[in-house]
Symmetry: C2
Subunit: 709 residues, 2 copies
């Protein structure tokens, strides 16, 4: 694409010189044209005869519109007349528009009247751009007309948007099917529409002073996409640059922080009940094998470890310093950490921004930046790195090794992570508290976990992103190899937003988060429990090799609920090939149902479960297996659990490792069966049909985004 | 409302005589007018001059449309020309339409050309009616235009719809706000629109041979609602009448069935592993205190009870007979049950409709109707009535008494109900398997549970309703006093539907179920687990006295998640009055947040929790309390649980019984705290913020429907 950047620059420079915060309609169309946006033929008439001449040249019908930088809402001002079919009507409209404009705003400086070809056909859509405080430049697409405001059927992407993003946006909106034509209408030219989105996204990316932009309406038809009106708002206030580390810097410091060889505890204590005591105990009890240096002004030894009056007195190297001292002393010690070339300060203390002490927090950030020390927190429980036996926290120790890395912004959620993990025996690689996120945030963690061989799944509780654009960029890269699950809290807080464009007004916080997280390949969890279950399940499930899901059940009722859940989770129930159908029928009673779900019926012995499961595990056309077990006397829960465990183990040994999830219905014995299966890395849940399918659905969402199926 | 029924009857009789399956446009408008539907001025022209005369009389602009019973899709046939502004255009349009019609269908019998006033203004909506196989006559409302087909933003109600239903429909659609006018447009006359819906619903109810009807579009404006086009399809096939018992008959037999004084077990057995043995054991072990009669052709005694060769040989009265014999012997014994005046046959045997043996099932229904015996099943696990110590089932016994009544159509779901109940220590009044529902179905159970003093909440797993209209009518009545939770399985099965009208095509199974269940006051659960949790929770929560919900939390992070959940569940976070705010501030640290959520912060001792909880429980402006507990050393889980238990017990003793739900985050000790609280009828869930709020939301949904708040 070749954009005429200098043409745009000229228009913007002029507007800036005139200290305007918007462009005239003509200017707006000029810059749109420079970025290959089609607009209708038009001209600016300054007299009635002039208007008539232009109308004749353009061809009827035409639209006349007031041209004035002082009148933004032209329709409200009576400044738009459509369906002008002949010369007489042009004359009448010209006069009427000027009269209306004067009445509306007698001070308005009027450039003339625009004469514009009236677009006859096409679906009204809106393409726009806005500037989000978290994500920066966003491009938007939605259906046009008044309905868009009511239904808010609009979607967003970070600008610039790639062609694939633009095409995905067309499918994102609920009314997407209308683009393909309904009731015999021809579909619109999707390529032209997607290009319009791309062009706009490049325009606002190239010229950040364009704060908001609407193409509203764009008439989309089989012949292309024409923007009937272009509206551009300007804001040249520079966005403050955020301090950025290079990826190499991030990785170097994060590796030292997460896998430290030496840890100092600032404010270590021998006294029970003190945070500095809990941290020491957790490090020792957790089995941390690196060097451990308690720092205390007076103590000689704490819990058997040599104590130092200050961090600078420690003889050896120190990678992290865990702070267990009051807020007012933190800045001073961070400076000392700098002298000691400590990589990270783990700031457990509260008393900063979370209670309104913003200046104190800004101070520690300033000091840390000078000292070249990264900060985790403040106001956190600390962090865990199980593969280093490291419990750098005042909470209870947790050391169940596994491949799930989790982070939380809130201490409460962090404790829920630890409790759930322990209860569910979920193996984790790390649990990290981010708290106030004065420095280290999700981007840094993602960069570290990306290369951490112990981590296969990342789950994050997020309340806000300090730099959404940086997060999106790292997440997009990392999610190609490791699933990222995000619980975005605060999604229903509809912060009032000052916006002067339609696009801006429609950019509700959560809608933007949702779109950008999707664009970044992130799996969004709706609830805390979903985040935890997805984290556990994604680490266990192998990546499916294709979309074919088979439901195999002993209970017809479960089959129906599991089918519902598959549809809810965008899973494809495999169409059963005739030979496979016949193969299943070999094993099931004549009144059982093959097809999909395969219903082996409730009265069957273990051999029937085993034979049909083996068949499903071995047939390569089946990519994932959803099991619905029904507790019977003939096949009791633990008998089922053992046969399934063996079947899956055998299949794995044969190289047939496909996702298997299991819904168990029955009396309380199924809880033991679920536990038995979970311990063997087979996802099984009692009293629910929907949860196992939701977890499988999350795995599919990731596999599709990562381009693996 | 005074409808001209005889005018409608005349039109329908004529159409029937002519063996037509649709009405002409003129006829359709005639019957609409007879039911007070406004339609535009119009006439049927049979010559060009005739058309010109009419157009002059009606006033320009006009629309011309082909009038032919053989051309249903007028637009497709080129049979509609709009925006006709003058006499010349009328002449041209008249000729063009006739030409087009002949070309489209040269055999079509043409009545002439309709000349119609063109409605200039208004929002296009659709009002329609269809005939649903489950629910019968339904009335529909949605936004018009092509978008309605794409977005399917349409809602349904049973016909006839009351005024309140019709008004509720206007709010049901996603685009509802557009009715109030956007961008300065005037809102539409909601009363006129609601009346249109009501009129149509009465029309199809009064004349069942109207199978489908579209008013499409209806132009709704501030001045009223005008139906520009009316389309009516006819189908005089009589719907087979379903056998109906009177409510008194139902209650009389259901009381004997659910609370029997004497039970016979057909096919009782002394042999371990037989169903007839399990049933006997469950009855005995469950502690059933009525008379128990095993029936066996040869045995003398079974498990200590005198045996009889057939049911007719039993000396005393028998209320129910539990069948444990093969399918082919069932009909014969039902006939004997009739002789013995048994009220209900509990048909555990399978081998009927569920395996394709429809005739066998029809036979037992026929025999039972003659014998005046009600049938439960076949193909069921039986049923439980805890307050009678009755385990009439071959499954494991369950006798935890409580006030939740549950039913399931599937045995698998039934087992999940039993397992969940036992695991969660949920007290139940009854658990009933409905299986093939050859006779007794949800209506009968609702009628019984309505008057059962032991039942306060009813939860039902439903795969299909045999008679949706009967269910809706009973549910509407019962839900006024007792919450009904329904898990409708099979909701995503999009059965292909033959329909010739827009309304019919849009009546997807699940959308109709959803709307009718709502109209009936039913709380719909989306998942099996939701059904179970709602059932447990609704029985425990008192009815809130108003909409004001307060969140009180020790973890800011939980507060955010709980707020999200409140919004998701349509709960209103109370705006905090200044005096109450000040009262809370008395107890919490200066950096804590009052307002709503009240964030007491994480470091607080038990006294702070207790003081703020007491305040929230006592202040009458707060109607419900959502607690977010965060596990700390200062206030450990069991300390919190005990203080909350005491606070609630005191408040209840003082008469301040308001709903309290609790989210617990922390290490595994919170599981014990949750259990402690659950045992004290305080809903508390570990590792989730969303579940307690969802249950509270269900209670509110019910309280609103029942008109209690």
């Amino acid at each position: 694409m070749s954009y005429d950047q200098s043409a745009v620059r000229a228009v913007l420079v002029k507007a800036k010189e005139e200290e305007r915060s918007s462009l005239t309609s003509a200017e707006a169309k000029q810059i749109a044209a420079a970025y290959e946006i089609a607009t209708p033929a038009e001209g600016l008439a300054t007299s009635v005869d002039n208007a008539v001449g232009m109308a004749n040249e353009i061809g009827f019908p035409v639209v006349l519109k007031i041209a004035s930088a002082d009148i933004l809402h032209k329709t409200d001002a009576g400044g738009v007349i459509t369906d002008i079919e002949d010369v007489d009507a042009v004359r009448a409209a010209y006069t009427a528009i000027l009269d209306n404009a004067k009445e509306y705003n007698s001070d308005a400086s009027i450039d003339g009247v625009q004469v514009q070809a009236q677009i006859q056909d096409g679906l009204e859509v809106i393409v726009g751009a806005t500037t989000d405080p978290v994500f920066g430049k966003l491009v938007a697409f939605g259906l046009g007309g008044t309905l868009v405001e009511v239904l808010q059927d609009i979607t967003f992407r970070l600008a610039p948007a790639e062609s694939a993003d633009a095409h995905a946006m067309l499918n994102d909106i609920s009314g997407s099917k209308i683009l393909d034509g309904v009731r015999g209408q021809a579909g619109v030219d999707r390529t032209a529409l997607a290009r319009t989105i791309e062009h706009i996204s490049h325009l606002v990316n190239d010229f950040p002073e364009i704060s908001e932009l609407d193409l509203n309406p764009v008439f989309a038809s089989a012949d292309g996409a024409v923007a009937a009106d272009v509206r551009v708002l300007l804001n040249s206030d520079a966005v403050p640059e955020r301090h950025q580390h290079t990826p190499d810097e991030i990785l170097a410091s994060m590796k030292r922080i997460m896998e430290p060889s030496a840890v100092a505890v600032i404010g270590a204590s021998a006294e029970d009940g003190k945070i500095g005591n809990s941290v020491m105990r957790n490090l020792i009890d957790g089995g941390y094998e690196g060097d451990l240096y308690p720092v205390h002004p007076k103590a000689d030894q704490i819990l058997g470890h040599q104590c130092y009056p200050s961090i600078v007195d420690i003889p050896g190297n120190v990678d992290i310093a865990i702070f267990c001292i009051p807020a007012q002393f933190v800045a001073g010690v961070i400076a000392e950490c700098g002298q000691k070339r400590v990589s990270g300060a783990i700031l457990i203390p509260s008393g900063f921004a979370e209670i309104g002490e913003h200046e104190l927090q800004e101070e520690i950030v300033r000091v840390a930046r000078e000292a070249k020390v990264r900060l985790m927190g403040p106001n956190i429980y600390g962090f865990y790195h199980t593969h280093k036996n490291l419990c750098a926290t005042f909470c209870t120790p947790y050391n169940e090794k596994g491949s799930v890395a989790l982070s939380s912004q809130s201490g409460g959620v962090g404790m829920a992570i630890i409790g759930f993990s322990r209860s569910a025996k979920m193996g984790v690689s790390a649990i990290v508290g981010l708290g106030n996120k004065s420095d280290i945030d999700e981007d840094d963690l993602l960069t570290y976990f990306e290369q951490d061989p112990n981590t296969s799944v990342i789950a994050m509780h997020v309340e806000d992103l300090k730099d959404g654009r940086a997060f999106a960029s790292v997440a997009k890269r990392v999610s190609r190899t490791k699933p990222i699950v995000v619980l975005k809290a605060g999604r229903t807080s509809l912060g009032a937003k000052a916006a002067n464009s339609h696009t801006g007004a429609l950019a509700g916080d959560d809608r933007v988060y949702d779109a950008v997280l999707r664009q970044s390949g992130v799996i969004r969890a709706k609830t805390l429990n979903d985040m935890l279950e997805f984290a556990r399940g994604l680490a266990v499930l192998p990546t499916p090799k294709g979309e074919n899901v088979l439901i195999l059940t002993g209970a017809g009722g479960s089959g129906v609920l599991l089918s519902d859940a598959c549809v809810d989770n965008d899973l494809s129930l495999m169409a059963m090939p005739a030979d496979l159908d016949a193969a299943f029928r070999e094993f099931i009673p004549p009144f059982g149902a093959a097809g999909n779900p395969v219903d082996i019926t409730g009265g069957e012995p273990p051999t029937t479960y085993r034979a049909t499961i083996d068949l499903a595990l071995r047939d390569e056309r089946i990519h994932s297996l959803v099991l619905g077990y029904w507790h019977t006397i003939i096949t009791p829960p633990m008998v089922f659990a053992e046969l399934l465990g063996e079947a899956v183990a055998n299949a794995r040994a044969e190289g047939n490792d496909k996702p298997v999830v299991c819904s168990l219905v029955g009396d309380v014995e199924i809880e033991q069966a679920a536990e038995y299966l979970m311990e063997r890395n087979i996802l099984a849940y009692p009293y629910t049909a929907e949860k196992p399918v939701a977890v499988l659905g999350a795995k599919y969402r990731w596999a599709r985004t990562a381009g693996l199926i």
